[in-house]
Symmetry: C4
Subunit: 126 residues, 4 copies
């Protein structure tokens, strides 16, 4: 790369929803909410994810480290500390980092070997 970083230190994803396992034949219907993070800088990115709900206070931060010059695809389904994200529940997320990163929201469909159903760049607060 000609330069050593790209991105923003704060991102938001207004759409989030993890179906419960009781919907449809499992695991065919399992989908994975993912936020793909890219850290092009020379320093590790200490990322904090805050989850917002429709009917209660936000939960977080969920702490994730993206090493220098690495990408990390974080599944919301796997976040457990401070608490798992409830299923069948609307949520939204804010992603903050101490160095600039790029964030992209993707929902995977496990039926087709990781094909994505949707993907959109997150909103970068500049």
């Amino acid at each position: 790369m000609r330069t050593n970083w790209v991105g923003s230190t704060r991102w938001a994803i207004a759409e989030g929803y993890i179906p419960s396992w009781s919907h449809g034949p499992e695991p065919q219907m399992t989908s994975h909410e993912t936020v793909c993070l890219l850290n092009t800088t020379d320093r590790d990115a200490h990322v904090e994810i805050t989850i917002f709900f429709s009917d209660r206070d936000p939960v977080g931060p969920y702490e994730v480290t993206v090493p220098s010059r690495r990408t990390r695809h974080v599944r919301f389904n796997d976040l457990e500390d401070p608490e798992p994200i409830p299923r069948d529940t609307d949520y939204a997320s804010v992603i903050e980092s101490d160095v600039p990163i790029v964030a992209q929201h993707t929902r995977l469909d496990s039926r087709q070997a990781e094909n994505a159903l949707i993907s959109t760049i997150a909103f970068a607060d500049r």
Copy 2:
């Protein structure tokens, strides 16, 4: 969160279309046009949605409140005041708020437990 707000006070979604119920076996083919709103601020967001059409004057505002530090997933199908949004009709929308919010456009497919067909961040007017 390290800071207390993210977003813009004005957003636009140029694409909108709610199929009529007569298309395909119902409810399998029912899709839901949704705008996901996120308010990270300390104040309630008073949101006004204006709907634009191809052949008549805009309709609105549709008023929605997103409480402080909450997300709200608004289905265009459910908007009724001042009037329901017609089916089988191209429309577009502008979303304005008195505090900064984040808006994301998603179309849900009810056949697969709320899987999304499309999702894109709305256009933020800065």
Copy 3:
């Protein structure tokens, strides 16, 4: 609306592809490349679309008018002047307007009553 316009006077869509009718059972496999335009201003928008190819000079402008305070969903399949857009061919587009508009790129799948396969906000040149 509290204000009377939103958007940009220049947009770009780098992805474009109209399948030929010979692929798959027709019309079930027919898809429609669409650019959804929104004009929130008090003046009509005179829009010029230029189409770029991989192996020949750009073609255009294709002229489209979006009346004041209206939306218009333009199908690339239907553009005919100065010439139809070839099928099975990679293309890209630039959309310019004399007043600010919002542009969103959507591919429709006619099998499911206008369900969209993809949708993404176009790139706004500011």
Copy 4:
């Protein structure tokens, strides 16, 4: 076109994944990761793509030329120099150009005559 360029000289795509051929019946399940590039300028664009991984150093640059006033849809599957992109592996990409271009990320599904599964504008670093 009224003006002669649009875009940015640096773009990022945080999401990338090429399924291996062993998943599902081939070629029906083959998907193609694509980045669509548009160069509206009067000069050829010399583009460098750098690929980032989760567990090793970035690889690149992959060099691509987009001629003046042309579009080029680049398949990550086809990149071979300095090395092919591994399958079943999370990656991300940064796209840099010596003239402004527009970049859009699309995943194609070959089962339906080049229908796209996802598409999103890349992140433009301004």
